[in-house]
């Protein structure tokens, strides 16, 4: 079965033992994203300090792929610079949209390489991307709020 390549142990572990789950304060922006085809949803908060992402907190419900992906995101993107994180997020997006033809770079992606198998299941790509798209949205909102504050 190909199931093992889709549901790698890392994914199942993050699903059963999510890291960083739960909404925390303080935060600069909160977003709520849904996957309208299946009803999966995530609420995600981002806390920035200068150009550092100091916390990503989240809550939501959905399948193992979407929930594990949020947990991995927390681990990969917290306590890094925004520019490093954006690079990671772009690499993850490219991997997910690569239909299985993109070779993942573990140095950039860390545990997120475990999702490589998801790319071969187009119907599940949106599950894996749900939290990452929410994160990008939240960071953009935080950054623009910060810029607004600095200008005012």
């Amino acid at each position: 079965m190909d199931l093992e390549s889709l549901y790698q142990e890392i994914i199942l572990d993050h699903y059963k033992n999510p890291r960083g789950r739960g909404l925390r304060e303080p935060f600069d922006a909160q977003v709520h994203h849904v996957n309208p085809t299946c009803g999966d949803e995530i609420t995600l908060r981002v806390r920035l300090d200068g150009d550092q992402v100091v916390d990503v907190s989240y809550d939501g419900q959905g399948c193992s792929i979407s929930q594990a992906s949020a947990s991995v995101l927390f681990e990969q993107l917290t306590d890094q610079s925004i520019s490093t994180d954006l690079e990671t997020a772009d690499a993850f997006l490219a991997l997910m949209q690569g239909r299985g033809h993109v070779e993942p770079d573990e140095d950039v992606l860390g545990d997120a390489v475990a999702f490589a198998g998801v790319a071969k299941y187009p119907a599940r790509v949106k599950c894996a991307l749900l939290s990452w798209m929410a994160w990008k949205d939240a960071v953009a909102q935080s950054a623009s709020a910060q810029a607004h504050e600095e200008n005012s």
Binding site: M1, D2, C38, G39, D40, E41, C63, Y121, R124
Partner: protein
Amino acid sequence: MTTMSSQLNGLLDVETVSKDFPILARTVRGGNKLVYLDSGATSQKPNQVLDAERGFYTRCNAAVHRGAHLLAEEATDAYESARLTIAHFLGAVPRELVFTKNATEAINLVAYAFSNATAKSAHGRALPDGADRFILAPGDEIVVTQMEHHANLVPWQEVCDKTGAVLRWLTVNDEGRLDLDDPEHGLESVITERTRVVALTHQSNVLGTITPVERIAQAAHAVGAIVVLDSCQSVPHMPVDVSSLGVDFVAFSGHKMLGPSGIGVLWGRYELLESMPPFLSGGSMIETVHIDSSTFAAPPQRFEAGVPMAAQAIGLGAAVDYLNALRSVDGSKHGMAAVSAHEHALTTYALERLTEIQGVRVIGPQEAHDRGSAVSFVVDGIHAHDVGQVLDEMGVEVRVGHHCAWPLHRRFGVAATTRATFYVYNGPSDVDALAEAIVAAQKFFKVI
């Protein structure tokens, strides 16, 4: 105790039927036999339907209701013959049948009759005689149910937004049936003198519940409301006689009943169709056209603007012929009665097999009476997407998610369910494959 599948009564000869469906011979995901349990979303097509569509294109393809050449005549005849076949199938007359793209468009056609009549009337523009039944005022009420597919909910929300009408709904009880006697949300409190439309499903696409249409239609008609029935999950699965249902409109899709995609049907009482303003406008729906105004053709042409989907209508006619010709193995039933008996036997068996599995909970009626073959369930500890993925890996193709009935899923406190639906080409072994795959999913995710 488990019923042995050989004891099931009223089955069709699935082996013979399956041979008519070329797609069922293919394998999926690593050479597994295809077990297709998603006919509630769309059905597979028999050779007879595919041949009818191809036959139209290879013999008499032309734009129907236009032109006077031989091909145009033959194409128009074939298209109108399909309308006749489908009308007979429903206990209707052909002029009451409008061909649409699908059931969603059919329901929108009725919904737009309300918003268009209301808008035209506000500007004093011409409307057909009797159109006042379609003019809504702020505070008028439209009633739906909590178990509607989005296709029979969102269009009515839109009508409310455009006219100031208010949406109300009948609720669903824990068993998955409409709570008609509930003091607050039952028939007597929800359907009132202000009710102008009652839009409901004949059979829930999630729960399988068959609704008491006649009782609701009576209550609706007692206050002068128009009754719109979403029959997407009933017309393909059981005998439906529109003349005895007591409703005003019936909508369904061809692709869920062995027919092609791109063809649906709206049946309506003719006096109502006659009093409705057009939906889509343009060619072939007109009577006369001047540069500044037009008058419109009589129904059904009034609602069939543009060159219609002739091959698909003919394919749906062939699907109806196919369904009519089916026979139970024991010879006791034929046509839609045989289809219904077949699905009843499979549903009974499926409910039995599924409720035997620890950690599986069926959402909806637990017994097969007044119930169709949509069986939705949750597996404790595994999200529906993940259940579906394991099933798919084993060749069992089901639907996962909210099945376009999000409010209903909220009602049951679940984000998503896994849904199996059965049709004429499914047999007891498909139920067995489903049950075995569910247990495999439980083992894979280590919840048992």
